[in-house]
Assembly symmetry: C2
Homo-oligomer: 280 residues x 2
């Protein structure tokens, strides 16, 4: 049982881990990719470092944590569940913790599909566990391609065996369901059915589950019932979400999207997490 599992190995997650470790707490960091910073080439506005590549800074941070004895796992978190403690599931394993710090950055890989946003809550869902039951024994579509899609697919199989997987241009192996590899261009609703349109063909499903890219703050939020604002930032009060024990910081909670602010969030949140654990 860890005191805290940090999800995300960017500035906010690593900064939190460094402070938690120094407070004498057992902390595990799980991070899959380099997030937004892997796109930035040069960073020249971070106090104390004149110029550095985004990827180099991330690597430096991970090394800094490792050198303090913090485990940083490169796994993809696909779910968080609550029982007596929190259970964080990756595509490989699952881990228990007293608290969680979500530092998954800003929403990424948002799909550029016409009609998707308009049909959210009206046939389009982002949470298999939440809404799968509504479409049991119906034809269920799911769009996505990574581990996160596979884990959502696993859930949907409980509700229906009439599944259509839209991989949106990616090849995905090892699934037996009907597969559409063409890029999806638009969706629309007709007679209570969702029409999923690729450049060559249209497919009809009763609903469409979105599980594209990595699970991020927004997707965790939908699964757990965490409150978000209208653009998907987690709503926090002193870095704690509406679920006691789940904290968040960095781009995931909004504010200026700057490295130094994300790192500071991690630091300040670590103080709050320490106090919260003390009070358990």
């Amino acid at each position: 049982m860890f005191d805290c599992i940090v999800i995300g190995s960017g500035p906010s997650g690593i900064s939190a881990a460094i402070y938690l470790k120094r407070f004498g707490l057992d902390v595990l960091v799980i991070g899959k990719d380099y997030g937004t910073l892997s796109i930035n080439t040069k960073i020249e506005n971070y106090y104390g470092i004149e110029s550095i590549d985004g990827v180099d800074l991330i690597k430096k941070g991970i090394l800094q944590a490792s050198n303090l004895g913090i485990s940083v796992l490169e796994e993809e978190v696909v779910k968080i569940e609550m029982s007596d403690s929190f259970v964080v599931g990756t595509s490989i394993n699952s881990y228990n913790a007293k608290t969680i710090f979500i530092a998954t950055g800003m929403k990424r890989n948002s799909l550029n599909i016409k009609g998707l946003k308009e049909l959210e809550g009206s046939g389009v869902s982002y949470c298999a566990v939440c809404d799968g039951f509504l479409y049991r024994k119906k034809r269920i579509g799911i769009i996505g391609s990574g581990d996160y899609m596979l884990s959502e697919l696993e859930v949907l199989r409980r509700f229906s065996n009439d599944l259509v997987v839209f991989t949106n241009g990616e090849e995905v192996f090892d699934i037996n369901e009907f597969k559409v590899i063409d890029k999806v261009i638009s969706i629309n609703k007709e007679n209570d059915l969702i029409k999923v349109n690729t450049s060559s063909k249209s497919y009809e499903v009763n609903c469409l589950f979105v599980a594209a890219g990595m699970a991020n703050g927004t997707s965790f939020a939908r699964h757990l019932g965490l409150l978000t604002d209208e653009v998907g930032h987690l709503i926090v009060n002193d870095y704690m979400t509406n679920i006691p024990g789940i904290f968040a910081g960095g781009d995931a909670i909004g504010g200026v999207k700057q490295i130094v602010k994300a790192a500071s969030d991690g630091c300040v949140a670590a103080y709050k997490i320490k106090d919260y654990i003390k009070g358990l």
Copy 2:
């Protein structure tokens, strides 16, 4: 006329200056010493830098700002005045700006003198401009030794020529007033007079002005009427003090006293300052 004068060349001040400069604003940094960080030997919890000496980090920050074309002056700010714009006076010069960012760190050089705290507001004052008039033509004591003391002394001369300067162990030249160089050990009040006691002797004054060490957030606050909390942190709302155009961040506004939080304050405050200037 600068867009912003940053007072303090530590993490918060320099980080603010970097962002302000990148927003295309004219910024001047005025900082006198290395503050709290000069006491820390090793810093090992700042994201992205595994280990660095406090003084080295400060120097690195100042160099980072200079390389961006930002002027960083090593002068001591002794007063801030308001007219059409803000006027920041140092011991050498004065500078005009549309906004001010106070990043002077935490209260330093607080005097360890028995009875001082108890007599605040009851004969002990931290602001010559505010309270000097109350003691006109009386015997006025002042305790301190640096440029800040000299600037407060200058103000007190307008109210009285019966002045006693307690240098508290430091030698101070070029003043004509009666001078006590012994270290002050305690003060107490007797018959409406303040008794200032050194190891060898006691001196009676009608009031005692404290102007020790550098002017910090607390002393600026008292001069300008900025609101502070009970421990002297400047009270801000979105980094702006109760005086429009005067912003503050870092240790001066409280919260966790960590470098990354101070640097983040500078960054986020810079956004607020930019927006404020745009609205002028």
